[in-house]
Amino acid sequence: MLTLRSILRPTRIVDAHCDIPCGVYDPEQARIEAESCLRIIEKHDASDDKHFRARCIHVKEERAELVKHHLDVLWHDYFKPEHLEKYPDLHETFWKASKQASKVKQSLDAGAAKELLTMIDTIDEMWKSTGGPEKTRVSGRPS
């Protein structure tokens, strides 16, 4: 049905952009920080030293913040509208993963950290199936 609304709906987004996209993205970056959170929680729980435990909490909060940062970069810069067509739950997935990273930041719950890894792996699948490894990583690294 041809309506005024359909005629006036923009056909595309144009960028008055301001960034320096290096074009390198990999959910691995977020995963490594999230793995770090999990290990720190385990070390925290295994220790009786209150100073060490305090350091664990401090560093774990920093790492969880980095998870959120790396997820944001992927979300805003790597994923594009055509990926949203393929994965209609893309926004929901990122939103939940970011919230999970906040939970890991606030708590000492190893289960929450494991859940975060699972969520990052879901994002990793989206990245891989949209050609991320070929399009965004620099090739030629010795295997």
Binding site: M1, L2, I7, L8, R9, P10, T11, R12, I13, V14, D15, A16, H17, C18, D19, I20, P21, G23, K80
Partner: protein, 130 residues
Amino acid sequence: MRASGLARPLLALLAVAAARRWLDVVEVRGRSMSPALRPGDRLLVARARPRPGDVVLAADPRDPRRELIKRVGRIDPAGLHLHGDNPAASTDARTFGPVPAEAVVWRGLMRYWPPDRIGLIPAPDPDRRG
């Protein structure tokens, strides 16, 4: 011959489809054309040969999947030098150099949304030109 009830909307649809070759509507993202264009502004664009001072659409030379909106600065044999009105918040010819003239086919005509910003696209603020 009389057009049936169905033929009229069909003709209108064809007219819009044909017109979309020459007229189109786009939405702006980003701040590099502020204050003339703000994020979320919707524009009517038309196919036209670009002139200096025009606001135009062009594929990003570094990532052709991305379409940029910038203002035409100098035009020389190397191509069009595109700049944001807000140089502090713009990645433009300073980074990616001139773009070929044939890469630019759409020119911004007017803003039609949001309603309080309906109007022609103003010239850049002379104090802010970089």
